[in-house]
């Protein structure tokens, strides 16, 4: 039973990673909005870079989710 409990605790701890990635993604979009409001004309040209940063950061949160899934269902 202790192994089962440790599995569930581990899955819960993995969710911290998802939260941290959420902070990162929020920072990226927030910074983009800040820059875009200061110079709206340059905003459209940076959208590809915005999505690259978003994708790279989001991946870390998703990996944390994978670890949670593996612990829960694997």
């Amino acid at each position: 039973m202790e192994v089962e409990a440790a599995r569930l605790i581990g899955a819960g701890l993995a969710a911290i990673g998802a939260g941290a990635a959420a902070a990162g993604v929020g920072y990226i979009w927030g910074s983009f909005l800040q820059g875009a409001l200061r110079n709206p004309e340059a905003a459209d040209g940076e959208q590809a870079r915005l999505y690259i940063g978003f994708a790279v950061t989001e991946l870390l949160g998703l990996i944390a989710a994978v670890i949670g899934f593996i612990l829960l269902f694997g």
């Binding site: 590809a48 999505y51 690259i52 994708a55 989001e58 998703l62 990996i63 994978v66 899934f69 269902f73």
Partner: protein
């Protein structure tokens, strides 16, 4: 959704591959629910394209929709790769529209007994094959065009000599991880979103079963939250398709232009 042993509802059973014809034994080829949804995706993409490829002088609404998607991909490749990007439009467009349609089809809120929408892209086998295709194009183009000079991709310009071995290893690892990250991102984004939706759905069902007070307290907020998460998932479907196409384009740009 099937009932799990504990009496709860198992959110993972929606991803189960069920054979329709043939068996899932080793060495056998089976026609599964995944195949059905892939064929459905193909049929829908085909319908979408055939309706917009009449090449009328004054485009109608449908043709405009198709042209805006092709124009979008075309723009993305020209701005990221340059004039050499034109020849990759068919591949990137195929990847983009297949992922987009497969994602959206999997989100359909229909469910009959035994038949439910199956998200093709929620299996790493399928996203993995697509990622390996992108990666092979990068390798093939890079070695074809630059021969062994392709390895200079791993050493950025102006690196001090003592740092070269270390940077080479780091860049090599980050290069080799690309297909995995490409496949993993799409697969997990889809899986996580669908699990989330089904978990909320199970809250609604068990909330209603538990009686009116708990139903009002749990089921109604869960249902509202589900609505918003569904809208968010629609956005994620499009973003993930876009990100997959965009990253493939960037990786191809590395091979085409080095840096």
């Amino acid at each position: 959704m099937a009932e799990a042993e504990g009496g709860g509802i198992d959110p993972m059973s929606q991803f189960k591959i069920e054979p329709i014809a043939g068996t899932l034994e080793q060495g056998q080829i089976a026609f599964t629910n995944s195949s059905i949804w892939m064929l459905l995706t193909l049929a829908l993409v085909w319908l979408f394209m055939i309706g917009g490829m009449k090449r009328e002088l004054v485009p109608g609404r449908w043709q405009l929709a198709v042209e805006s998607v092709t124009g979008f991909i075309d723009n993305m490749l020209t701005s990221n790769i340059g004039p050499a990007g034109k020849k990759y439009v068919p591949y990137i467009f195929t990847i983009f529209i297949f992922i987009l349609f497969a994602n959206l089809l999997g989100l359909l809120p229909i469910g009959f007994t035994g038949i439910h929408p199956f998200t093709v892209t929620s299996h790493i086998l399928i996203t993995g094959v697509m990622a390996v295709m992108s990666f092979s194009i990068v390798l093939a183009v890079g070695f074809w065009k630059h021969k062994l000079k392709f390895f200079t991709l791993f050493v950025p310009h102006g690196t001090p000599l003592p740092m070269v071995p270390l940077l080479f290893v780091i860049e090599l690892v980050s290069f080799m991880v690309r297909p995995f990250s490409l496949a993993l991102r799409l697969f997990i984004a889809m899986t996580a979103g669908h699990v989330l939706l089904k978990v909320f759905a199970s809250f609604v069902i068990s909330g209603i079963n538990a009686g009116p007070e708990i139903g009002l307290l749990v089921a109604v907020p869960s249902f509202l939250l589900m609505l918003f998460v569904s809208a968010l998932e629609l956005l994620i479907c499009a973003i993930q398709a876009y990100v997959f196409a965009l990253l493939s384009a960037l990786y191809i740009n590395d091979a085409e232009n080095l840096h």
